[in-house]
Assembly symmetry: C2
Homo-oligomer: 203 residues x 2
């Protein structure tokens, strides 16, 4: 089964700017992508990266600078089933990918924190994505309108995409991939002196 992984190669992860330079944000974005690819590795999924600009990767890359919706919808028209995974799921592991694949439904959806859609399994070619706004809610409504059967997957590891500085706490604590290793190497650690955990950098 095809797995589409959209990747923003131009100035990624701007909300991490308080902690990381542009080059570092570029690094962490690519390592998160690498971690998503690793999670897929021992599954039947055949990953394809759709990137806004040319990048080197161990799997096929298509460069397409259109917005996310037409890119994904064109892939759905090309043929389902199709899996769509966000490229910044720093906690994703094979177990969650397998759980998505074995969940029945015309549409299998796993929410991201804040109303997003972090993983989709699309088994019906009439479905269309709309990643703007509260996409989780919109995707449920779109599926309902088409009369599709929908399953929701409950996973903290899928729900945690890496956008904000505090998301790095989750990667440091629960991540077992390249991004987590890079953060530790770069001097990031969790401080609890103020009571609530926060991310700090030494060195």
């Amino acid at each position: 089964m095809r797995a589409l992984i959209p990747f923003d190669a131009s100035n990624p992860k701007t909300r991490l700017s308080p902690l990381l330079s542009a080059a570092e944000r570029d690094s962490i974005a690519r390592l998160l992508l690498q971690d998503v690819l690793s999670a897929i590795e021992d599954t039947p999924l055949e990953p394809e990266i759709v990137s806004t600009a040319s990048i080197s990767a161990s799997v096929p890359v298509t460069v397409d600078d259109r917005p996310l919706d037409p890119v994904v919808n064109e892939a759905i028209e090309d043929g389902t089933p199709l899996v769509v995974l966000m490229a910044d799921l720093g906690l994703l592991e094979g177990e969650q990918v397998q759980a998505l694949l074995k969940t029945p439904g015309d549409l299998v959806i796993a929410p991201g924190r804040g109303g997003g859609t972090n993983a989709l399994v699309i088994r019906d070619g009439t479905f269309r994505v709309d990643y703007h706004g509260v996409s989780f809610r919109d995707h449920l409504r779109l599926a309902e309108r088409e009369g599709l059967s929908v399953s929701v997957v409950d996973s903290f590891r899928i729900a945690t995409d890496v956008d904000e500085p505090e998301d790095l706490i989750e990667v440091l604590l629960h991540g077992r991939g390249e991004a987590a290793g890079w953060l530790t190497e770069a001097g990031f650690h969790i401080e609890t002196t103020g009571g609530r955990p926060s991310i700090e950098r030494t060195g």
Copy 2:
């Protein structure tokens, strides 16, 4: 099996002050507690609330104003197995409680966002809790030191405790209980005019 639900009855949910009055924070805290009790209802768990002050509830309430750690540790000494659930898990449903109970291990732990521990199943009386700081990491280390077998449960619904204004987005989107209903009644809804979803109040 006993299920301990610690409840802070005095000035709860202070971090929701930008959105809610003291009386409203009191209301939402009690409704979240009610939703946790509802999630337990059709499970073999026998809930006990340990509250910092007297509250009325449909299940036994013990008033104990000591910090959380000695309260829970005393309950562990009284006898295991024991389940400890946070009182502000606004997305918790029976399915997640059943998943906790059927997961093997001397210690079953489900993380909360930000390093917390939102659910514990303690099946070995030598374990002790330490809810300060990065409690998820600390609990893993404590279990390892005692040579206990540990399972980690991956659940977005368990990981989402309600502390910050943006956590209310999750309750509005994914909650199906009393707290979600109250928020809607109170005029809260999700706005996406700025691009990213935010919580707003009308009326």
